[in-house]
């Protein structure tokens, strides 16, 4: 089988041992790679009840067979571990270049286990592996870390690292790579920090081969053409990036504003992709092998806050701006740059600030606890708190644990807007019922990337469905969840699915691997991965009771705008969803389903 490198690199940090294991072709065939293969290994090797920040948890960096190839966007890697934020499975995807570089070093997966006695980084050099001291970069930002470790290793080495937030095991911590790209969600950076691993540095000179080069290139070029012709991947995304959604979702009335107290934001346009293009945008950028190039390279050169980097993306600008009621683009961009440099998930960090703001405004947090006022719309407070969180100082120490912990500490967990202790992203499920169901059922907690029904509810891809209606949403949610699990296992970016379908990805996978995948099988693998994640969560102690939404979403109508009066009608969709999944009424997969998916 081609396209995989056929090697799993295992580093035991407690013992300081490095082992290379052959990738089991049967596992690769059943789980492909990335999210699927990483989940399978985590499920087999880690007790789901383990303390996520203990040495007994493992952190897996997984590429897919298409990572490192010309398959458009074929540069992704996945960070898989048990989440300290949610207690459920964590699985965070990132682009940039390091995923491909891992393959060029000869590794499909990297498994980090145990805990190093002192801070270390891994230097993966074309098949050679060294565990090196990271004392010199401990405490540094992700950007300083990258620069210094490149100077210590190879000037073109690619780096994944944690910032001060990850070192201090903040539950909002992410793993950053190539300076501006994030394996963002579920606190994966805290797990890396708990292992005393500051960074993974890679430079390889090896190749990735495909089984049928000519057919593979033809299939890839057909995908390039489709991506170019799509209004989203060939137009909106390269031109305005993901923030093109700000005005679109605002117009639909479900742009969650001020911790989900409103569905429209009066300052939305100030944070839109269109405004960014006229102001702070320098240019768009692609990740490895990406023909979409949606990333926003930006710089804030004037105003109270200056800085440069990438972003804000739609989710980041929403969480740091709209959820907090801040419409100052310079301040929001600055908060985004700080998140990247200090190593925090922009969504979790932004919603945590929004949660604290609502608690403060309602009088649940005394001013003395914060040492200042914390009202919605306060740009200075946002930027100040972001730095306090990144270094875990003062009030920031609590907020860096995410919104759920803040709301719980002050006795109002109901004011936390998220599922399974993970914050909602930038769509109010009350205005898009498919998202409400998707948030409630996503295995890693509230997430928009696990079944992006906005595609049908807003864009009409592949068909238009009314966002307010619940009918048919269980079916489409399940389908999208399974497709996303498949795509995330191949090594390409989920954003391709705006322009292409699984039937376009399948030929690339098949010609690359020559493993004999059928299209039907690809979707079954997606479903298998979804169910395996579910089994991990059930064994970790989660249950169907956790497939729920905050009371605000279930019972308080959106106060005004096009979605006025809407609530999340979860009870109208969840039983049907369980039934379509082949799960019982408590959300437990039936034996027949597990057998059909070869999971028993």
């Amino acid at each position: 089988m081609k396209a995989w490198r056929g090697e799993v690199l295992r580093v035991n940090l407690t013992k300081g041992t490095i082992t290379k294991e052959a990738l089991d072709p049967k596992l690769a065939r059943a789980y492909i790679g990335g999210r699927g293969l990483g989940t399978k290994i985590l499920y087999d090797e880690v007790d789901p009840k383990v303390d996520p920040l203990s040495p007994y948890n493992k952190l897996i960096m997984a590429t897919g067979p298409l990572t490192g190839t010309y398959a458009p966007t074929g540069g992704r890697y996945m960070v898989i571990t048990k989440s300290p934020l949610t207690g459920a499975i964590a699985c965070s995807n990132s682009g940039g270049y390091i995923g491909a570089e891992l393959k060029f070093c000869g590794h499909d997966l990297l498994i980090l286990e145990g805990r190093a006695k002192a801070p270390v980084y891994l230097w993966l050099h074309n098949g050679k592996v060294e565990i090196r001291s990271a004392e010199k970069v401990w405490g540094k930002t992700t950007h300083e870390t990258e620069d210094r470790l490149r100077a210590e290793t190879h000037e073109e080495a690619k780096v994944s690292s944690i910032g001060p937030a990850g070192e201090k095991q903040a539950l909002t911590a992410c793993v950053m790579n190539d300076k501006h790209r994030a394996a963002g969600r579920s606190g994966v950076g805290a797990v890396m920090g708990s292992k005393n691993v500051k960074a993974v540095v890679a430079k390889g000179f090896q190749s990735v081969q495909v089984a049928r080069p000519k057919e593979f290139m033809a299939a890839a070029l057909a995908v390039v053409k489709k991506l170019k012709e799509s209004a989203v991947t060939g137009g909106g995304l390269p031109k305005y990036g993901t923030p093109i959604l700000v005005n679109v979702i605002n117009a639909h009335g479900f742009l969650p504003t001020r911790n989900f107290q409103q569905g429209q934001f009066e300052g939305a346009d100030k944070l839109s992709g269109e405004t960014m293009a006229d102001t702070i945008l320098l240019k768009n950028k692609g990740c490895f092998a990406c023909t979409i190039a949606c990333a926003r390279v930006s710089a804030v050169k004037e105003g109270r806050y200056t800085g440069a980097g990438e972003g804000p993306e739609y989710e980041s600008g929403w969480a740091l701006g709209i959820a907090t009621g801040v419409s100052d683009l310079g301040a929001v961009a600055k908060a985004n740059y700080l998140c990247n440099e200090l190593g925090m998930d922009t969504i979790e960090a932004g919603v945590a600030v929004a949660t604290a703001m609502e608690l403060f405004e309602r009088g649940h947090i005394p001013e003395r606890d914060i040492s200042r006022r914390l009202r919605f719309g306060d740009a200075d407070a946002l930027v100040w708190l972001m730095e306090e969180m990144g270094y875990r100082r003062g009030f920031g120490e609590l907020v860096s644990q995410g919104g759920y912990r803040v709301a719980e500490r002050y006795g109002h967990p109901d004011l936390f807007m998220g599922v399974k202790k993970q914050a909602f992203p930038a769509y109010d499920g009350r205005g898009a019922q498919g998202m409400a169901l998707g948030y409630a059922t996503a295995n890693r907690g509230a997430c928009h990337l696990r079944g992006y029904t906005i595609s049908v509810e807003v864009f009409g891809i592949p068909k238009k469905m009314d966002p307010f209606v619940t009918e048919g949403k269980a079916e489409v949610s399940k389908l999208f969840q399974d497709v996303a699990a498949f795509v995330d296992s191949t090594g390409i970016c989920l954003f391709t699915t705006f322009g292409i379908g699984a039937d376009d990805i399948h030929p690339m996978l098949e010609h690359a691997t020559g493993a004999g995948f059928s299209l039907e099988e690809c979707l079954r693998i997606g479903e298998r991965v979804w169910n395996l994640e579910r089994l991990f969560n059930l064994r970790a102690g989660l249950s169907g009771k956790d497939d729920t939404l905050p009371p605000r979403i279930l019972s308080e109508g959106i106060p005004e705008g096009p979605a006025k009066g809407m609530v999340g009608k979860l009870q109208d969709m969840l039983p049907e969803y369980y039934r379509l999944r082949g799960w019982d009424t408590h959300g437990v997969p039936s034996r027949a389903k597990l057998r059909a998916l070869a999971l028993t």
């Binding site: 190539d178 090896q206 190749s207 990735v208 170019k228 240019k283």
Partner: protein
């Protein structure tokens, strides 16, 4: 008429598809480190600059080669390496002021861009460059001027990044 490879760094999105296309075309595998075109990514400055052989009119690599293994191809006018003549002495690698000729010990022969010896179509990297940062154009005066402008920009950038 001979054609030339024109590079527009301002259009480049740093996706490195050219590197993948090049290594696939010449070696049948994806291996950016062996690509004859390289995207130089300066994240801080938001500058992504593809560099490859400029096909010098007075090609030092060809002049210095003791076995005349680097010759000008007719009709593309690109310099190519004749593997059966190349003895792997690396004089060309030393002579090229741009680092456009490489020699990997494990393969033993000089490797450089030869525009895929493309007569009617585009070289592979151009075919796969979606943002059109690479173009294969007739070598008329306009093209030369654009190439010069690019070279001047490059010169300034190199100065900046090496100081």
């Amino acid at each position: 008429m001979a054609k030339t490879l024109v590079i527009h760094p301002e259009r480049c999105t740093a996706c490195r598809a050219c590197e993948l296309a090049c290594s696939m075309k010449h070696y049948g595998e994806f291996n950016p480190s062996r690509s004859r075109i390289q995207v130089n990514i300066f994240l801080e400055e938001a500058l992504y600059i593809p560099t490859t052989c400029t096909q010098c009119d007075q090609a030092w690599c060809a002049k210095i080669c003791p076995t005349n293994a680097i010759v000008r191809d007719e009709p593309t006018m690109a310099y190519k390496v004749l593997d059966d003549k190349c003895v792997g002495c690396k004089m060309c690698v030393l002579a090229c002021p741009f680092g456009s000729v490489v020699l990997f010990p494990e393969y033993g022969k000089a490797e450089k861009c030869d525009h895929c010896l493309s007569i009617d179509g585009d070289p592979e990297c151009v075919k796969f460059c979606t943002p059109k940062a690479l173009e294969y154009l007739d070598e008329d005066n306009e093209v030369r001027l654009r190439q010069m402008a690019t070279a001047l920009k490059l010169k300034e950038t190199y100065k900046e990044v090496t100081v």
